[in-house]
Amino acid sequence: MKSINDIQREIIDEFAMYDEWLDKYEYLIDIGRNLPLIDESDKTDANLIEGCQSRVWLTCTRDENGCLHFAADSDAIITKGLISLLIRVFDGRSSEEILGTDLFFIDFIGLKENLSPTRAGGLAAMIKRIREYAAEFKED
């Protein structure tokens, strides 16, 4: 299995193929369209991460091996693209791995502006929620 950092480097390489901003975003939109959706019944307030302008629902389960699995949906497609990148990095990992990861790929693919806590898309809030899930499951 690839390491978390291998996957981060993979994503950086994929985005490096696009020089134009719009092309990077077009790729992100494509990724967003393929995001594994969550059940309508899981779109509850408890699973909601409220951004200023878009909503994200994120669920997390742990399998018998102690690996965490995420599913998500959003009403905004670029937001879906961002969260599906996060899921690609973190899905199937243990709490320890998730909490111990330095998330560097976002800086390198030029989407750092999305990380600002006040950014409408709420990427920072999504990362925070993923880490919260990891911490929660670790204590069990």
């Binding site: 901003w21 719009l22 939109i29 302008q53 670029i78 898309g121």
Partner: protein, 414 residues
């Protein structure tokens, strides 16, 4: 004085690029760009005339005071107020409205069981201050609906029958927007003032958007209060104007105490300064206040120029065309009889946040979200819209870039 092509020469932002493309700044309803005459004065004041106003006897303080008071007079002239005493300088429209709201409570003019009338399309700044008053004294809001929405009458007009009916339900204060920052429709404020006054009810007008695109004569309007922000009309942030009729300003007690607003202070009792300083506690933003003079003179020179008015009409026609050519686009108050160049819209199958993000990558700055007017945006658009708002320094060429970019974005997102 200005030919449309020369207006942009006053602005440094005009040569900026974003994402490698020429910037198309269409978020003017949030804040406008500052012309060089304003920036030059701002710079000059900070470098050479920086002293606290109204207090000291030294030369710098006189100079600073003089500049500040010139800003007040510029606002008086711009609004055609009877006297500069009727111009209170605040930090912005929000502070101005909060000032009136809290002073009305302190003066006992709004109390338990009273109604405060607002429209459905208010900016939060003309909603929350009154909601706070309601919580403080047990008053309530009377919210008058506007005609806007999909598949319904969509001219953005205030329901005047509902307005008249609401006025008669124990309303003690009317606080209405001149032009909603969502709908862009010019409200019949003169008529609304007349009807409220017939019942002895005072009227505050939130002019944050209206002042930018319509000439305002507070004496002809006969409103009791008119509030606007400097930063939406070429001035710096942190300065705003509250016009208040002399009689009201004299009878309202101040709600903020501190320096500069007093006449005599002892531990037993303080007497207050005359209007308008009674309402200007603390060291004022004298640089901002002074900059109102060049900013409002700039605005006035554009407003009085027939060429500029024709130019504005042309860019509005171009906007209508650009928006009409997008399939599935809903324009708030699309059937408006009288609008400013401000357009809030949604596009079927396109999330406003996605569209605004992509437009930015094409150099076009738009606003998205609820735009500080959640109730109306929730009702007509499910909580999120896109908004393009233009100033006279915008061009038909920019509208074309906007239109083409929007078409491309829709294609990418659908």
């Amino acid at each position: 004085m200005y030919s449309p092509s020369q207006i942009r020469d006053n602005f440094d932002f005009a040569s900026r690029t974003v994402a490698g493309r020429p910037l198309v700044y269409f978020d003017n309803a949030a804040t406008s760009q500052r012309p060089r005459c304003v920036l030059d004065l701002q710079d000059e004041l900070c470098r050479r005339h920086n002293a606290n106003i109204h207090r000291a006897v030294h030369t710098l303080s006189y100079e600073a005071t003089d500049y500040y008071e010139k800003g007040r007079v510029a606002a008086q002239i711009f609004l055609n107020a009877a006297s500069p005493d009727e111009i209170v300088l605040t930090s912005g429209a929000t502070a101005a409205i909060n000032l009136v709201a809290q002073c009305m409570v302190r003066g006992g003019f709004i109390g338990r069981g009273d109604g405060i009338l607002i429209t459905e399309a208010e900016h939060h700044s003309n909603l929350v201050p009154w909601q706070m008053v309601c919580g403080q004294v047990g008053a309530h809001l009377e919210v008058v609906p506007v005609r806007a929405g999909k598949g319904t009458a969509n001219d953005g007009a205030i329901d005047m029958d509902a307005y008249r009916a609401a006025l008669r339900r124990g309303v003690k204060m009317v606080a209405i927007t001149h032009v909603s920052n969502i709908l862009g429709v010019v409200n019949p404020v003169r008529e609304m003032v007349r009807e409220a006054h017939a019942l002895g009810i005072p009227v505050l007008i939130d002019g944050a958007q209206g002042i930018v695109h319509r000439s305002v004569d507070v004496q002809a309007l006969d409103c009791d209060f008119y509030a606007f922000s400097g930063h939406k009309i070429y001035a710096p942030t942190g300065i705003g104007v509250l016009y208040g009729k002399r009689a009201w300003l004299e009878k309202l007690p101040p709600f903020m105490g501190g320096g500069d607003m007093v006449e005599k202070v002892t531990f037993e009792k303080t007497t207050y300064a005359d209007i308008p300083l009674k309402f200007e506690a603390g060291t004022s933003n004298f640089v901002g206040g002074a900059c109102l003079a060049p900013a409002l003179e700039f605005a006035a020179s554009l407003a009085s120029d027939g060429q500029v008015r024709l130019h504005e009409k042309a860019i509005m026609e171009a906007m209508d065309k650009a928006l009409a050519s997008v399939d599935g686009l809903f324009l708030a108050a699309g059937e408006a009889a009288d609008r400013i160049p401000l357009y809030s819209f949604t596009i079927e199958g396109v999330h406003p946040l996605d569209a605004a993000t992509l437009m930015d990558k094409m150099g076009v700055a738009l606003r998205s979200g609820h735009m500080c007017a959640e109730p109306i945006v929730d009702r007509i658009a499910g909580g999120s819209m896109l908004r393009a708002s233009l100033m006279p320094y915008n061009t038909a060429e920019e509208v074309e870039i906007f239109g083409a970019a929007l078409q491309k974005v829709v294609k990418m997102l659908r």
